[in-house]
């Protein structure tokens, strides 16, 4: 898993070198490179890879990024703040960026804000609860939803659950005989 994440980040880095916007993460529309890396690691804690892909490989980050320019426009600022807050939480606890921590340490930090026990000077009065629920909901949508919205790449979650992918469209154009 670590290898895969490093690959993702490496691909992102080389694409950036190829001349995308300075701050914007390559292939994304809203997140900066640094924010994308942080939120990507966050989503991976929520649905981690094992022998089947997790949120990172399902490209949940692409789903969130795309929707932040569409239906979730109002959540742009909350996402910026959440990425900043989890980074600051990691820096104070471990002296490192959140995305560089091992998943156990990342998960422990997230478990605290899930319970609303994040540092109030960083997260505000709810201890990070609202930010946690926001990322959790969107991670589920990006992982289990339809691939057309950017996540659930290659139907990874549906394959994991054992449900078939979408049938081919256009059956309406064929004539139907008697019931077979």
């Amino acid at each position: 898993m670590d290898l895969k994440r490093r690959q993702f980040v490496a691909t992102a880095a080389s694409a950036a070198a190829a001349g995308c916007g300075a701050r914007l993460a390559p292939g994304l529309r809203f997140f900066s490179k640094d924010e994308a890396r942080t939120i990507d690691a966050w989503t991976e804690c929520l649905i981690p890879a094992d022998d089947m892909p997790g949120a990172s490989q399902a490209q949940v980050i692409r789903y969130i990024d795309l929707q932040l320019t569409r239906r979730f426009k109002k959540l742009q600022e909350p996402y910026r703040r959440a990425a900043e807050a989890i980074k600051e939480t990691a820096r104070r606890a471990h002296g490192k960026p959140f995305a560089d921590l091992p998943i156990e340490q990342q998960s422990a930090l997230l478990a605290a804000i899930d319970k609303g026990e994040g540092d109030k000077s960083i997260w505000g009065n709810d201890g990070g609860k609202a930010a946690f629920d926001m990322v959790l909901n969107h991670t589920m949508q990006g992982f289990f939803g339809n691939p057309r919205h950017g996540g659930n790449r290659d139907f990874v979650s549906w394959r994991m659950l054992g449900v078939p992918p979408l049938p081919v469209r256009g059956r309406l154009h064929y004539s139907f005989g008697e019931k077979s």
């Binding site: 649905i47 339809n146 659950l161 449900v163 139907f176 019931k179």
Partner: protein
């Protein structure tokens, strides 16, 4: 400038409007049918788990889906907020030709005979406006049959001893073959003395009415049917009506008000056409069929000399008694894999608990659930299990295909303060005051729900579930896709808004025909009752016109 006068203008092309339009058009009358939404086709079907009428995280695929159509929602603590069509609290149904029938799950229930006589059966209930309907099951029976045959229903309720008498069987057999889940629940129900049967559904199980049979995919409730096997008003009665040449369907037309003269007679409607130009459509008869939130909104926005508080609202009954259904039931985990990807999923039901529950005024039909798409299955976990992380993922992997849900629409006890008003400040994109929703559920509705969830749990246990957990409805305001009750039907103009023919009291030529007129909403999905009422009212209006009385 006014358009040419027609015999009737029908506002709203949902479950009821096209039926009225068809009854009148076939009888030779000229009808204009106004619909604020679009006319979608089966080819517009988009099997999108996040963008549909049931899971509308990214929007409503059959409308409304614009920020210009807000509502105001007031919660139990009196806090109000503006809500958009895809947000909680909006209580959305749909806005398109066919309305909810374009994308529904399509259960085709006749109400139980006792659902029409709730007050006589159970007596008055404290803090409730519970009452009898002014009509009985027997009055509606011929029209239920007409809906079943004209619009098309499959299923087999011959093993349901609790149903009201039917003169004719359903026109189509059940969608088959049964799923693993169906067979398991069927055997278990019989084992514990229940009476399971195949749910009547407005869905072709065989080619019918020139359309094909269901192909059994899992994108059913909330989605347009890709093969047009679901039977809505848009692909049945509307086609018949258009073929007469007497009906003009105008889509993307938003009605602003019903115009009423000094004597209380309607002269027509004012509406914004697809280019947002204000039009006047004069008509001899006006039929309002916009569902239980938008119908009272239109009436309340139609003020006149005789009705300064809104059309039909002289005694404050318009917008009262908003009710829907509290869905309650249980989920069970099983040892074996029960998922066979055979849609629509819901197939087997019992009516053993609709009435006759000791200490309860009503009950619910219980049925297995439609296939839970992966995104919908996230919430189908026992309380206390992990919401995220490895444990969550493991649970989903292990149990998605082994979880079965049984649930039903709990009979709601109507209350006066669950209501639709028009907001004094917020307007929609046409400048029309929007609906303002407030109130909560009656305590007894909650009690019935708890009892029903225990029954559902017992059924799952009998089927061999290794773990079960219950779902009981909330106490918040109920409306949603089963919204009803807000323009009550009754004999007394002081305690109702329309008469037994759906005509507004004290107005000769205005009718409200949709679930708004339901006095109570049964322990069943309401659509077939809406359709039956529309056939009945449509026939009545046609006879009135023939006699020159409308």
């Amino acid at each position: 400038m006014a358009l040419n006068k027609v015999d009737a203008v029908v506002v709203g092309a949902g479950a009821a409007g096209p039926i009225i339009a068809k009854e009148l058009a076939v009888a030779g009358y000229h009808v204009v049918l106004l619909e604020r939404g679009k006319f979608y086709q089966p080819s517009d079907c988009r099997k999108d788990d996040l963008y549909n009428q049931r899971t509308n995280i990214l929007g409503n695929s059959s409308g409304p889906d614009s920020e210009g159509e807000p509502r105001v929602f007031v919660d139990e603590r009196g806090r109000e907020r503006v809500v958009l069509p895809w947000e909680g609290g909006y209580n959305n149904n749909a806005s398109c030709v066919g309305g909810g029938t374009f994308s529904y799950g399509a259960m085709a229930w006749r109400f139980h005979p006792l659902d029409f006589t709730m007050k006589s059966k159970y007596g008055a209930i404290k803090d409730s406006t519970l009452d009898d309907w002014p009509i009985t099951y027997d009055d509606l029976e011929p029209y239920y049959e007409k809906a079943e045959w004209e619009i098309g229903v499959s299923g087999d309720d011959s093993n349901n001893p609790f149903k009201g008498a039917r003169k004719r069987p359903l026109p189509m057999p059940p969608v088959g073959p049964p799923s693993k889940e169906h067979k398991l629940l069927d055997a278990a129900a019989r084992k514990i003395g229940l009476h399971p049967f195949d749910i009547p559904m407005l869905r072709n199980s065989v080619p019918y009415n020139g359309r094909p049979a269901c192909m059994r995919c899992r994108w059913c409730v909330g989605f347009a049917c890709e093969v047009d096997a679901k039977c809505g008003t848009q692909n049945t009665v509307l086609r018949t009506a258009l073929q007469t040449g007497n009906l003009e369907l105008r889509t993307e037309c938003m009605t602003r008000e019903v115009m009423v003269d000094d004597k209380g007679r309607a002269t027509g409607v004012k509406y914004y056409d697809e280019n947002w130009r204000l039009q006047e459509q004069p008509a001899s008869v006006v039929v309002v069929s916009c569902s239980a939130i938008e119908s009272p909104r239109l009436l309340l926005n139609s003020k006149s000399k005789l009705f300064p508080q809104g059309l039909g609202n002289r005694h404050d009954w318009v917008g009262r008694n908003l009710q829907g259904h509290a869905y309650t039931g249980a989920l069970g985990l099983f040892e074996e894999d029960l998922y066979d990807d055979l849609g629509p999923g819901a197939s087997i039901a019992i009516c053993d608990y609709n009435h006759g529950n000791p200490g309860l005024a009503g009950g619910a039909m219980l049925a297995n659930e439609f296939i839970r798409l992966p995104i919908q299955a996230i919430g189908a976990r026992p309380p206390g299990t992990a919401r995220w992380g490895k444990d969550f993922k493991d649970f989903m992997r292990r149990n998605y295909r082994r979880t079965v849900a049984v649930q039903g629409p709990t009979q709601e006890i109507p209350i006066w303060d669950a209501r639709v008003e028009v907001d004094p400040a917020v307007k929609d994109k046409w400048g029309i005051p929007v609906a303002r929703l407030s109130g909560s559920r009656h305590e007894h509705t909650f009690e019935i729900g708890v009892a029903m969830s225990l029954k559902a749990e017992a059924w799952l246990k009998a089927a061999g579930a290794i773990q079960t957990w219950r779902r009981t409805g909330g106490r918040g305001l109920s409306g949603g896709q089963h919204q009803a009750g807000t323009v009550r039907m009754g004999k007394d103009p002081k305690t109702s808004a329309v008469d037994e023919n759906c005509r507004v009291h004290e107005s000769d030529n205005v009718y409200v025909v949709d679930a708004s007129v339901h006095v109570t909403n049964g322990g069943f999905n309401p659509v077939l009752t809406i359709m039956a009422l529309a056939y009945r009212a449509g026939g009545h209006i046609a006879r009135q016109m023939k006699g020159g009385r409308a």
